[in-house]
């Protein structure tokens, strides 16, 4: 228990000091994106990892959050920062609807329904030009020139999200979630209102993902339907972050986010310009291999199988 506290304190101290020590905007940017993925990955994990409802459509909530923030600025003329609350709430509202439709289905059918949902939202955002500007997208001017405010905002959000999930999972509700994942019919027979608790899980998950979307709008200051409703870059990425880090562990998605964002940038820049250009073509291949590797050898992700990694790789006996 004590070592755990030390680890948490060290990690917190590291993240608080990081942007003060590393002044480069570039590295701060990568950290901001990684922390944003901590937020999304953890939210996904609550629904998919703990409650067992694997979502292939988290881009829905991310996009709705982002567009809420963007439309606040372009249509209502108020600051896009209001979207940090509004985006979360709008995503919850959409979450209710998605839950109403998709929770009638189980397992793979649920996953497919959410996948279709994501595509539907992307098409709506693309074609409803009078509201969303379609593929022109929404371009805002950033509030801050410095990265520091964004960094601490997203750090706070990621921390809040992890803490919330930690508390939820320690509460009675958390046990209900896990029981639904393990056996929905058994949970039902014990008198658990599974539909209600699945929806609660979805609402918390969509709320934080929506906030992440709103943050993205504020930070990147440009969105279009293909970016924020992207199946590949948002929905699938959320799954990868969860799987690589460790499904149904508190810190798993956080670790996964740093691994995935780090890998993505390493490949995009062709190993920071050190390797030949073609290596950046290989990123999809490497992502694929990584997922296969993780599923075969580390089914519980880096965090879930940490003891195994310690034993096998570092030859440390527990």
């Amino acid at each position: 228990m004590k070592t755990k506290n030390i680890a948490i304190t060290t990690a917190l101290a590291f993240f608080i000091i990081f942007p003060l020590a590393v002044r480069s905007d570039y590295y701060q940017h990568i950290m901001i994106i990684a922390l944003m993925w901590v937020l999304i990955g953890s939210s996904w994990n609550l629904l998919a990892g703990y409650t067992g409802q694997v979502s292939f459509g988290h881009a829905i909530f991310f996009g709705v959050g982002a567009y809420t923030a963007g439309l606040f600025a372009t249509k209502l003329g108020i600051s896009a920062w209001w979207g940090m609350i509004g985006g979360g709430l709008a995503a919850m509202l959409v979450g209710l609807f998605v839950g109403w439709v998709c929770f009638r289905l189980r397992g793979p059918y649920f996953a497919l329904a959410t996948l279709a949902g994501g595509e539907i939202f992307r098409l709506i955002a693309t074609n409803w030009e009078s509201l969303t500007e379609g593929m022109v997208g929404i371009l805002l001017i950033q509030t801050f020139r410095s990265k520091l405010p964004y960094y601490y905002i997203v750090l706070g959000l990621a921390g809040l999200c992890i803490l919330t999930i930690h508390l939820v999972m320690k509460s009675k509700i958390g046990y209900y979630f896990v029981s639904i994942r393990e056996d929905q019919d058994a949970a039902e027979s014990l008198g658990i209102n599974t539909t209600l608790y699945k929806n609660i899980s979805l609402l918390i998950s969509s709320f934080f993902t929506g906030i992440a979307g709103a943050f993205y709008m504020n930070y990147m200051a440009f969105i279009d339907p293909h970016i924020v409703f992207s199946l590949h870059y948002i929905s699938i990425m959320a799954i990868l972050v969860g799987i690589v880090g460790g499904v149904a562990t508190i810190m798993g998605p956080a670790v996964g986010a740093f691994i995935m964002v780090g890998l993505q940038e390493t490949f995009r820049s062709a190993f920071f310009g050190l390797a030949p250009r073609w290596t950046s073509e290989a990123h999809a291949l490497v992502f694929g291999l990584l997922v296969i590797f993780v599923i075969m050898f580390l089914a519980n992700g880096v965090v879930g199988d940490w003891a195994k990694i310690k034993r096998k790789v570092f030859r440390i006996k527990a």
Binding site: D25, Y26, H226, R268
Partner: protein, 398 residues
């Protein structure tokens, strides 16, 4: 012993610092944002090669006031969010003095927003959507004409030769596609043509048969397509398979002028016409030279995207030579004062209508004839006579 070791170490440090200093003092860094991977990689490749060719020549001719010009070419992967972070990296980490490149409209628009906010001069190569130069940004300059002007030469060809009554417009659902389709629709209204269908398709789509069958049913005189590269090839291949035979297939530049379009589509590309912004036979100094040099160096044909990039490198060099200093505002002022001749034609950034810092470029029509991209319109400078009317089934060897 330890003393000499210490000396050696000092000497080593000295050498390192000198080299660090020298390499910094002797190169002017300019950032270039291009799609080197992803669906638009072919456009990125032809532009990157042209940039590098021009860079070699510029540096061989003495560089910029005795300093070397260095292009930091970064991959935007065709995604606006990546483009955004890439240009931030160029500005803050690489300390570039200005930014160039910009291929797809979506990416260019996002990058331009960052440049404007950071007061970083940005010379847009290709990104064609109107809003890139109609957002009243004073640090953004564009070599390429806005997409609303792409159909200029096509327009006169339509009224004088093809004389169609109905048009179907197909476009990729991207910023470039939608803005191009909208402005062509306006052109059609102006010419009194009946737009029987205006339909966008998803980027990355591979099955165009449903939309093409719809076109076939409506039987328009002209099919106008605004597409990047794979979609352009697939559209024509599948039109051939469906035996869709309008009077003419017209491409709105971009994918339709690329050598890969002809390679992928083979006979299906034959006799297809496209708007273009450049052709090697135009009477611009060095245009033909550039075409031949490119062919010799890379063993591949080049077209307007490449010419643009090649010209852009020379504009950048010219701007940096004229700039009072490498401060952002001095470079911006030098860009605004640009008035030079390039392989892409005369370059001058003017403001007209809603446009700001926009280069005026006349447009032309090219036609794929026997695997070669021939200039067919305006007729007085054509390299081959416009092949029309076309018996498509015979062209497709049915």
């Amino acid at each position: 012993m330890s003393k000499s070791y210490y000396r050696l170490f000092t000497a080593f440090l000295f050498v390192v610092f000198v080299f660090a200093g020298v390499s910094q003092a002797l190169a002017v860094k300019v950032g270039i944002v291009l799609p080197l991977t992803g669906a638009e990689a072919k456009f990125g490749e032809i532009e990157k090669r042209s940039f590098e060719m021009a860079l070699d020549e510029i540096n061989k001719a003495g560089g910029i006031k005795g300093e070397k010009l260095e292009l930091v070419i970064e991959d935007d992967t065709g995604r606006p969010d990546v483009g955004r972070s890439v240009v931030e990296k160029l500005i803050t980490k690489d300390n570039v003095v200005m930014v160039g490149g910009g291929y797809s409209s979506s990416v260019t628009y996002a990058v331009a927003g960052v440049c404007q906010q950071n007061r970083m001069p940005f010379l847009v190569n290709t990104g064609a959507a109107d809003n890139i130069t109609s957002s009243n940004w004073d640090y953004v300059f564009r070599l390429n004409p806005p997409v609303s002007e792409y159909a200029g030469a096509i327009q006169s060809l339509l009224t004088e030769v093809i004389k169609p009554k109905s048009v179907a417009i197909l476009y990729e659902n991207t910023l470039f596609g939608t803005s191009g389709a909208k402005s062509f629709e306006k052109t059609c209204a102006k010419l009194g043509l009946n737009v029987v269908l205006k339909e966008g398709y998803e980027s990355g789509g591979i099955d165009f048969k449903p939309v093409l069958s719809k076109v076939k049913q409506l039987n328009p005189d002209v099919v106008y397509m605004i597409s990047y590269i794979m979609d352009a090839s697939l559209l024509m291949n599948q039109a051939k398979e469906l035996k869709l035979t309008p009077k003419m297939f017209i491409g709105g530049a971009a994918g339709f002028t690329m050598p890969e379009f002809q390679k992928n589509s083979g006979v299906a590309s034959d006799k297809v016409i496209s708007a273009t912004l450049w052709h090697q036979v135009l009477k611009y100094p060095g245009a033909m030279d550039y075409f031949n040099k490119f062919k010799a160096k890379y063993n591949a044909a080049t077209e307007y995207h490449g010419a643009e990039a090649y010209a852009a490198a020379y504009v950048i060099a010219d701007v940096l030579k004229r700039a009072k200093s490498y401060k952002n505002d001095d470079i911006k002022d030098a860009l605004a004062a640009t008035d030079m001749m390039t392989v892409f034609g005369p370059v001058k950034f003017i403001s007209y209508g809603a446009m700001k810092n926009q280069n005026k470029v006349p447009t032309y029509v090219v036609q794929w004839i026997d695997g070669k991209l021939e200039l067919v319109w305006p007729a007085n400078i054509a390299t081959k006579k416009f092949a029309y009317p076309v018996d498509w089934l015979k062209t497709w060897k049915y």
